[in-house]
């Protein structure tokens, strides 16, 4: 079974890479719309994967809305006011977010701030960054947000702008997504993963066998913060708009957490499944409401909140009944089925071979 894995991976990658072609053949009229959906799914998948690196080890951060915000705003502000190309701006944003992550992470991990306290402290970080963005309204446009200055016709290597060319944007998002999965795999196969698994089970025991708890946690935090900042920066470059509520803030932090839990926190493609699920849910509801006069009449102008209500309800149900998420539960179910198949097979073979079932005599 195991040697089928690389084949499956190659088939999967080729399939995802071929999606724009399929879209072009099947839906030539609304190609842009479908590609837009797919690009959003891939970009969010990358950000969600970044969060899940920490989340899977019990470091539940509500601070990642701060990191995406820092990445996005640093890139756009440097471009708009200093004229610095995003090729430098993005690394600066990523570095800044990493530094903030380490600055907040180090005392947290040294002082063993975990669980509720860690979540609430990182929540404060998110609020702090959002308030700074709103407060610096002369540069950031306050709560209204701002746009990166358009360079030429909007597609430029120098300005890292690619929004009008959806196919190009898709492949940029695709490469980013693959990069995210690659990082996840590298972490999954590293020694740090075992160390962090041990730490998340029992910090004292992990420390007693020589694991540098603070260092391990800091490493994964820096990586996770950097990934989210990178994702935020690319999101800004694609959307060509940044606002404190669309790329930073508590709403984004909670959305990240929800999507990952819905998809599956402990499996590689869990965050991706979460992104597909949440985007399709929001978009499906929007289309359903727009298409149906009854629904529109029933909900009126408040229809926009319906997806949020369903999100909330599902988040509750997922945590209570399906804490492993969609993909995690599916994989579990699949493994159990295969295991029970093997047992059935073994019993059948044994019966055929004439082995006495029990020595009841």
């Amino acid at each position: 079974m195991t040697n089928l894995r690389p084949v499956a991976a190659v088939v999967g990658i080729v399939a995802v890479a071929a999606i724009p072609l399929i879209v072009r053949v099947l839906f030539p009229a609304s190609e842009k719309y479908y590609l837009h959906l797919l690009i959003q799914i891939l970009l969010w998948s990358f950000i969600y994967t970044g969060w899940s690196l920490m989340g899977r080890f019990g470091l539940t951060s509500l601070g990642h809305g701060a990191f995406t915000g820092i990445g996005a705003y640093a890139t756009v502000l440097l471009w708009n006011y200093v004229g610095l190309t995003p090729w430098i701006g993005v690394p600066v944003g990523v570095l800044l977010a990493t530094i903030v992550g380490v600055l907040v992470g180090y005392p947290c991990f040294r002082l063993r701030i975990t669980g509720h306290y860690f979540a609430l402290l990182t929540l404060a970080l998110t609020e702090f960054v959002r308030l700074c963005i709103v407060g610096l309204r002369d540069y950031t446009g306050g709560s209204l947000g701002t746009q990166p200055r358009r360079y030429g016709d909007g597609v430029s290597l120098f300005a890292l702008q690619f929004e009008p060319d959806r196919v190009l944007a898709y492949y940029i998002a695709f490469v980013l997504w693959l990069f995210g999965l690659y990082i996840w795999l590298r972490v999954d196969r590293s020694m740090d993963r075992y160390a962090l698994d041990a730490v998340s089970q029992d910090e004292d025991a992990a420390a007693s066998v020589g694991i540098d708890v603070t260092r391990e946690k800091l490493k994964i935090t820096a990586l996770s913060a950097a990934m989210c900042a990178l994702g935020g920066a690319f999101f800004a470059q694609y959307q060509m708009y940044i606002g404190p509520d669309t790329i930073a803030g508590l709403g984004i932090s909670l959305n990240i957490v929800f999507a990952v839990i819905a998809g599956g926190l402990y499996v590689m493609l869990g965050p991706t499944v979460g992104a597909v699920f949440t985007q399709l849910l929001a978009e499906g509801l929007r289309v359903a409401i727009q298409g149906s006069a009854t629904l529109r009449g029933l909900l009126g102008s408040s229809a926009l909140a319906l997806d949020q209500a369903i999100y909330g309800l599902l988040l509750i149900l997922f945590i209570i009944y399906m804490p492993k998420g969609i993909l995690g539960t599916l994989i579990d179910w699949w493994r159990r089925r295969r295991a029970s198949d093997e047992v059935t097979l073994a019993i059948a073979t044994a019966a055929e071979a004439g082995v006495p079932k029990t020595n009841s005599g």
Partner: protein
Amino acid sequence: MDCQLDIFFAEAILNGLLLAGLLALLALGLNLIFGVIDVVWICYAELVMVGMYGINYAYKAGIPFLLAALFGVMLVALAGAILHYLVIRPVLDTPPINQLLVTGGVLFLLQAAATMAFGIEFKTLGIRLGSLNVADMSFSWARIWAFTMALAGALALWLFLKRTYLGTAIRAIAQDRQVIALMGVDSRRLYLVTSAIGGGLAGLAAALMVLQYDIYPQIGLQFGPLIFMICVLGGLGNMIGGFIAAFIISQFIAVGSSCFHTEWGYAVAFLFFMVAIFIRPQGLFGTKS
């Protein structure tokens, strides 16, 4: 924008003091829940929002304000009990972060439900209590009432916990949840009662907030993070600490807002919070556990 030690500055400080009363009351219920059940209701401010809408509609239906306020308190107390019964109880034995996240789902749900049911426009009760003018300074009666009621609420809770049988049981379960079960106490019922009391305190805060603030579905996001900060800063579960933390935080907000833009007051308060927790992780007044 400029910051001078004049009468306006003094007014800002005193108004900050009055704001602290309200924040302390808001933190009180959350602190009780945390101290006793060991869960954080991240949707606490949304329960307050539900109470505000309840009072708003009751009052507009012609019910006198005090009765409407009482209705609000009962409504949120019921909501607290339902929240515990339906959402918290099933995850009580899972990792603590699950309990926090599950109430995050309730936050989304309540906010969206309020948007769908009541719309996004700001609603106001239309009661104006006027203001008290002392030496060129002006303080709204709504704030003074909120401050007084916060003190009264805290006192009532303290008396309840110290002097009644039920209160003693609640304090006992907060101290040791294993042993209390051996004493023949039904902890599930106690948790339910505590949740209802926590909700009732949120309802009381709602009754005082409708006099000062417009109601809209996102109002919870304005207060929620502040309340958590105050609880953690005071030492989660420590009610007196919560009071003092509320005073510190509200001074940052009031003075910061009077000298700079409002956001900077809040931003500095959050920064102070993070630094303070790094210096004293158990909260300013918490004891190490």
